[in-house]
């Protein structure tokens, strides 16, 4: 199971690939939409890539609650333990 630090690092690589944002700028308090140039369509790509990387399921209805990198990291951390 990945730690929170490993999840953030993984999300940083995904956001870098999809939106071109430098990995060091992807931090817990950053908003995907407002800070990281991830629009609603690109967020779907982020979610699918994260599901694959961390072996979790993120239902569509939960995606709207993942506003920041911290939200996503916490969600993935909990989902890993199910």
């Amino acid at each position: 199971m990945a730690t929170q630090e490993e999840i953030v690092k993984g999300l940083a690589d995904i956001v870098n690939e999809i939106a071109g944002i430098p990995t060091e700028d992807v931090k817990l308090d950053k908003s995907f939409t407002d800070d990281l140039d991830v629009d609603s369509l690109s967020m779907v790509e982020v979610v699918v890539a994260a599901e694959e990387q961390f072996g979790v399921k993120i239902p569509d209805d939960d995606v709207k609650n993942l506003k920041t990198v911290g939200d996503a990291a916490d969600y993935i951390l909990k989902a890993q333990q199910v």
Binding site: I18, A19, G20, D37, L41, S42, V44, E45, V48, E51
Partner: protein
């Protein structure tokens, strides 16, 4: 603003083609008579009856930032590259509004493609079948929709006066430019970025066009395969890329001190209403478009010294076009240097009208008509002065050029350009 009949000029050009990554390298290659046609090296091409195409010279992934490129179909990537070149070439330094020389509410974009995002559509269907629902890109719809190139160019330059996508197969690029001219003439816009793009080099379109017996199967001699007006022509060669121009009212261009390449004198449009793919053999529909052009503008047949012909290298189409020119212009055709640049670029379908308008503008600007390569033995039925292997100087004084584009469905679009003395 009330309707007007304003003069429209070309103030910027851009292209990315099988001959070069911009308009300057494309023009240089055209004058040098270089062919952009190559054998397709991809695995998928190995067993196809047609294994040749004119692929882009500079891959768009080398030009556009990766996060942007991955959200755009290849046709929109080409359009954006060509539009950005044209925009900068026109002297604009930022998008409309940020550059105070152009008002976003007076700026339009009209960029067309014949087929739309066909490689995205087919590629994502492969993803669905092979990798499942979850892996289909959420960008698929905005990538494959045919208005995507136009919309993305419009967003990039901040065009708010209207963004349009006329679709008429291989006449799409020319129809887009004609539509843009009308937007300016009737007062809807002062500046419009217009052109055509296409990216259809994929096994399905190649097989489908091949099964129509429309394409050259000259796999043994790729560079000799596209041979408009030659007696041995056996069909077109598929090309990809985009050509875009910046059109502007002459008042707007003068007010900002812009360099003018040429005037757009007018356009003629008609439909054959004959057959969904076959050209009307006597050239009646094309002749009607040419006549509408003369009736609706101050163009004089005597000033036309150059024609960038549609001439795709199909046995029927090339001849029908010449017959139509003869029908309308009679002996005046004798002083027209006719070039078939598809002999070098291949046929860019909806992109053709874009890159051929760029070529026509440069032919007037530099006063030289590009060559028609592979013209070994001219078809006697093509009774006109076809520029052969060497480019042809054009005369001094006020001169005009035509750019013809025709599309499956019987669409005929003729654009007329005139030299401009800055």
């Amino acid at each position: 603003m009330s309707p007007t009949n304003r003069t429209v000029v070309v103030t910027g050009i851009g292209a990315t083609t099988p001959l070069g990554g911009d308009s300057a390298s494309t023009w240089e290659a055209l004058l040098a008579g270089r062919s952009g046609v190559r054998l397709l090296e991809q695995d998928w091409a190995a067993e196809l009856p047609v294994r040749i195409a004119a692929q882009i010279a500079v891959e768009p992934g080398e030009v556009l930032p990766r996060p942007l490129a991955r959200k755009l179909d290849r046709s929109a990537q080409f359009a954006l590259i060509a539009a950005r070149e044209a925009w900068a070439d026109a002297g604009f330094t930022a998008k409309a509004g940020d550059d105070p020389a152009v008002d976003p509410d007076r700026l339009g974009a009209v960029v067309a493609s014949g087929i739309g995002g066909v490689t995205t559509l087919l590629g994502q269907y492969d993803v669905l079948k092979e990798q499942g629902v979850r892996k289909v890109s959420p960008h698929t719809v905005p990538m494959l929709m045919p208005n995507s190139p136009s919309a993305n160019v419009g967003i990039d330059i901040n065009a708010r006066a209207g963004v349009h996508t006329p679709v008429s197969a291989c006449a799409s690029g020319a129809e887009a430019i004609g539509y843009a001219v009308e937007m300016i003439r009737t007062g809807r816009a002062d500046v419009v970025v217009a052109g055509g793009t296409e990216a259809a080099i994929h096994p399905l379109p190649i097989v489908a066009f091949g099964n129509m017996m429309a394409m050259s199967k000259n796999n043994d001699d790729p560079q000799g395969a596209s041979r408009p007006y030659d007696a041995g022509r056996d069909g077109f060669v598929l090309g990809e890329g985009a050509g875009v121009v910046v059109l502007e009212s002459v008042e707007h261009a003068r007010a900002r001190g812009a360099r003018v390449y040429a005037e757009v004198v007018g356009q003629g449009i008609s439909a054959d209403a004959h057959h969904i793919t076959q050209p009307e053999p006597t050239g009646r529909g094309i002749a009607a478009a040419l006549q509408h052009l003369l009736d609706g503008s101050d163009l004089k047949p005597a000033e036309i010294v150059h024609v960038n012909a549609h001439a795709t290298s199909t046995p029927q189409g090339d001849v029908a076009e010449i017959k139509a020119l003869r029908r309308v212009f009679g002996d005046d055709v004798d002083h027209m240097a006719i070039s078939a640049t598809k002999s070098m670029t291949g046929h860019l379908l909806g992109g053709a009208g874009g890159i051929e308008t760029v070529a026509s503008v440069l032919a007037l600007h530099h006063r030289i008509a590009p060559p028609t390569i592979n013209l070994a033995q001219q078809d006697p039925e093509a009774d006109a002065d076809i520029v052969g292997a060497d480019p042809r100087p054009l005369p001094a004084g006020t001169i005009a050029a035509l750019n013809d584009s025709f599309g499956f469905g019987g669409h005929n679009v003729v654009l007329a350009l005139r030299s401009w003395d800055n």
